[in-house]
C-alpha cells in the first residue's frame, strides 16, 4: 500500500469542492451579519462599526410588536406541539403494533411531506370559511396552524429517544408495583427529558422561522417578524433588516446547537 503513496479513500478534487461548499454556505450569512454593524446604509461597502441599525430596529414599534408576537407564538406552539408529540410518541413506540399504525405515522409526518404553499392555501380557505361563519378573526388561527406544523419536528427526536431507551427499567419499575403513572413520572419521563427538550427546541425554531403559512393565515396587523421582513424586502432594504436577521439567526443557531448536543447524548 505504502508504495502507492496515496490515501485509498481520496478522490481527486473532492476535498476542494467540499471546502468550497463550506465557504459558500457560510459566506452569505457572515456578510449579512457583518453589514448589520455597518455605519452606512450600504450592504457592500464597509464604512465602520456601529450599533445604529440595532438601535433603530429596537426603536421601531412595528418590529417590536412583530417580535413579541413571534416569540409568544413560538412558545405556545412549541409547548402544545411538544405535549401532543410526547403522547403520540408513547402511542407509537410503547404499544404493540395495531391496525392503522402506518396511517397514523403518515398523518403525523404529513406537514413534512406536503409543500408548505399547499398547506398555506388550504388553511387560508378553511379559516376563511370559519371566519365567514363565526365572524372570529383573532389570533387563534395562527396558534393552531403553528402547533400543527410543529408536531412532526417535536415528534422525531422524542420518538428516537423512546426507541433507544432500555425497556427493562420501565418493566422493572412496573414489577416492583409502581403504578403506571408513577412509572411514567419516575422512570420514563426523566430518561425521556433530553428528547423532549430537543423536540421543543426544534419546534420553537420552526415556529419562529415560518414565513409561508403565517403569511397566508395572518389577518391584517398580525405580522410576525419573518412576515414583516418579507414585506420590507419589497422596498429598498436598509441594514436594519440585517440587524433583525442577525438576532433571529443567533436565536436559531443557539437552539439548534443545544438540540444537536441533546440528541447526540446517549442514555
Amino acid at each position: 500500500m505504502a508504495d502507492r503513496g496515496f490515501d485509498v479513500q481520496k478522490q481527486r478534487g473532492f476535498t476542494t469542492i467540499a471546502l468550497a461548499c463550506f465557504v459558500l454556505l457560510y459566506t452569505p450569512i457572515v456578510l449579512l451579519v457583518m453589514y448589520s454593524f455597518n455605519v452606512g446604509t450600504s450592504i457592500a461597502i464597509w464604512e465602520g462599526f456601529s450599533w445604529r441599525w440595532y438601535v433603530s430596529a429596537w426603536e421601531n414599534e412595528q418590529v417590536k410588536v412583530a417580535a413579541l408576537r413571534s416569540l409568544y407564538l413560538a412558545v405556545v406552539a412549541s409547548f402544545v406541539a411538544t405535549s401532543a408529540a410526547v403522547l403520540a410518541a408513547l402511542a407509537t413506540t410503547r404499544r404493540p403494533a395495531y391496525r392503522g399504525q402506518t396511517v397514523v405515522f403518515a398523518i403525523i409526518n404529513q406537514p413534512l411531506m406536503v409543500p408548505e404553499i399547499v398547506t398555506a392555501v388550504a388553511l387560508l380557505i378553511f379559516f376563511a370559511l370559519i371566519k365567514s361563519f363565526t365572524g372570529y378573526t383573532g389570533g387563534a388561527f395562527l396558534f393552531v396552524a403553528h402547533s400543527a406544523f410543529c408536531i412532526p419536528f417535536a415528534y422525531m427526536p422524542i420518538r428516537a429517544r423512546l426507541q433507544g431507551m432500555d425497556l427493562t427499567l420501565e418493566q422493572a419499575a412496573a414489577d416492583l408495583y409502581g403504578t403506571p403513572l408513577r412509572v411514567f413520572r419516575k422512570v420514563t419521563l426523566p430518561l425521556l427529558w433530553p428528547g423532549i427538550l430537543a423536540g421543543a427546541m426544534l419546534a420553537f425554531v420552526i415556529s419562529l422561522d415560518d414565513v409561508v403559512i403565517t403569511e397566508f393565515v395572518k389577518a391584517a396587523g398580525q405580522d410576525t417578524l419573518p412576515t414583516y421582513m418579507l414585506g420590507q424586502l419589497r422596498r429598498s432594504v436598509t441594514p436594519e433588516v440585517n440587524a433583525i436577521s442577525t438576532v433571529l439567526l443567533a436565536i436559531s443557531v443557539t437552539m439548534v446547537v443545544i438540540y444537536f448536543i441533546l440528541s447526540q447524548r446517549k442514555n
Binding site: F14, F22, A81, I108, I117, L123, F149, A174, V237
Partner: protein, 303 residues
C-alpha cells in the same frame, strides 16, 4: 393473564388512540383536514371578488392547462401556466443536479474524516439548514444585488464596468434554491457513505482500478440509494418553492408556488388556485411514493 400482579406501564394501560388524539386532532384541523376542502373548492365557481360561489364547475381544472381565446372562442393551451410549470421543473431539476455535484464530494469528504470529527462537520452543514429560510434567501439577495458584494468586487477589480443583473433572474432563483436546499442532498448521501466499507476501495485499487473507475464502479453504485434520496429531498421543496422565487425572482419570474398564491391575491380565482395546489400536491406525492419504493427495494436487496 396475570393482570392482577403485573401492572402494565402507564402508556400501555390507556388505549393508544387516547394518547394519539391530541396530535391527530390538531393535525386534522390545521394540516390534512383542510386539504379535502381544497379539493372541493377546485370544483366550485370563482366569485367576482375572490372567494367562491357554491355551484359545481370544472372550469378551474380546465383552466389549469387550457384557455379559451378571448376573441374567437377557440381552445388553446394555457401558455402562461405551461411556461410556469416548465420553469418550475427546469429550475428544480437544475438545482438538483448542481446540488448533487456539490453535495456528493462534500458528503464524501465528511464520511472520510476521522469518526470523531464527522459529527462536527455534519453540524456545520445542518446549522444553516435550520436557520430561517427567508434570512438565507435575503443573504443571497444582498450578495448578488447590483449594489451587492459580488458586483462591487468585480467592478473594483475592473472585470466589469456595469453591474451584472443577477437578481430577479432564473439564475438568482436557482442559486437561492441551491443554497437553501443543499444540506438536504448532503445528509442522505453522507448516511449511505458512512456505512460504506472502504476496504472495497482498497480491493479495487489492488485489482488495478484507477480513481475514476473506483468512483464509478464501486462507490457510486453503493451510494445510489443516498443519491436518489438526496435528489428527491431537494427536488420536492424546489418544486413547491415560494419564498425563494418571490424574493429572488422579483414577482415576474414565477414558479408554481407563486402562481398558486397569485390566484388568491390579484388573480381572484380561488378554484383555479385550489386546482393548481392539488396538481402540485399530486406531483410531490408521486415523487415521494417513487422514492419510498426505490428506497424499499434497495433496503430489501441489502437485507
Amino acid at each position: 393473564m396475570a393482570d392482577a400482579t403485573y401492572t402494565r406501564p402507564f402508556s400501555e394501560r390507556y388505549s393508544h388512540w387516547i394518547l394519539l388524539s391530541p396530535a391527530l386532532l390538531i393535525l386534522f384541523v390545521a394540516a390534512f383536514g383542510p386539504l379535502f376542502i381544497v379539493l372541493i373548492y377546485s370544483f366550485l365557481t370563482a366569485g367576482d371578488y375572490g372567494g367562491v360561489v357554491w355551484s359545481f364547475s370544472t372550469d378551474a381544472w380546465f383552466n389549469v392547462f387550457a384557455e379559451r381565446d378571448m376573441f374567437d372562442d377557440t381552445l388553446g393551451f394555457a401558455d402562461a401556466h405551461l411556461a410556469i410549470f416548465w420553469r418550475s421543473f427546469r429550475l428544480a431539476a437544475v438545482t438538483t443536479v448542481v446540488a448533487l455535484i456539490f453535495g456528493f464530494p462534500t458528503a464524501y469528504f465528511i464520511a472520510t474524516r476521522p469518526p470523531k470529527q464527522r459529527n462536527l462537520w455534519m453540524l456545520l452543514i445542518m446549522v444553516p439548514f435550520w436557520t430561517n429560510l427567508l434570512i438565507r434567501t435575503f443573504a443571497i439577495m444582498e450578495l448578488i444585488r447590483n449594489e451587492g458584494v459580488v458586483n462591487s468586487l468585480l467592478m473594483a477589480m475592473g472585470v466589469i464596468n456595469e453591474p451584472i443583473q443577477m437578481l430577479y433572474t432564473d439564475f438568482a432563483i436557482m442559486i437561492g434554491m441551491l443554497y437553501v436546499y443543499l444540506p438536504l442532498m448532503v445528509l442522505p448521501i453522507y448516511a449511505s457513505l458512512e456505512r460504506f466499507d472502504f476496504a472495497l476501495v482498497e480491493a479495487a485499487y489492488d485489482l488495478y482500478a484507477n480513481r475514476l473507475r473506483v468512483l464509478w464502479r464501486v462507490i457510486l453504485p453503493v451510494t445510489k440509494p443516498g443519491i436518489i434520496a438526496g435528489s428527491i429531498l431537494v427536488m420536492i421543496p424546489a418544486l413547491g418553492a415560494y419564498v425563494t422565487p418571490r424574493v429572488l425572482g422579483g414577482g415576474k419570474r414565477m414558479m408554481l408556488g407563486n402562481l398558486i398564491e397569485l390566484q388568491f391575491g390579484q388573480g381572484r380565482n380561488w378554484p383555479l388556485g385550489a386546482a393548481l395546489a392539488i396538481v402540485l400536491l399530486i406531483i410531490v406525492t408521486a415523487s415521494m411514493i417513487y422514492y419510498v419504493r426505490a428506497a424499499g427495494k434497495e433496503g430489501a436487496g441489502h437485507g
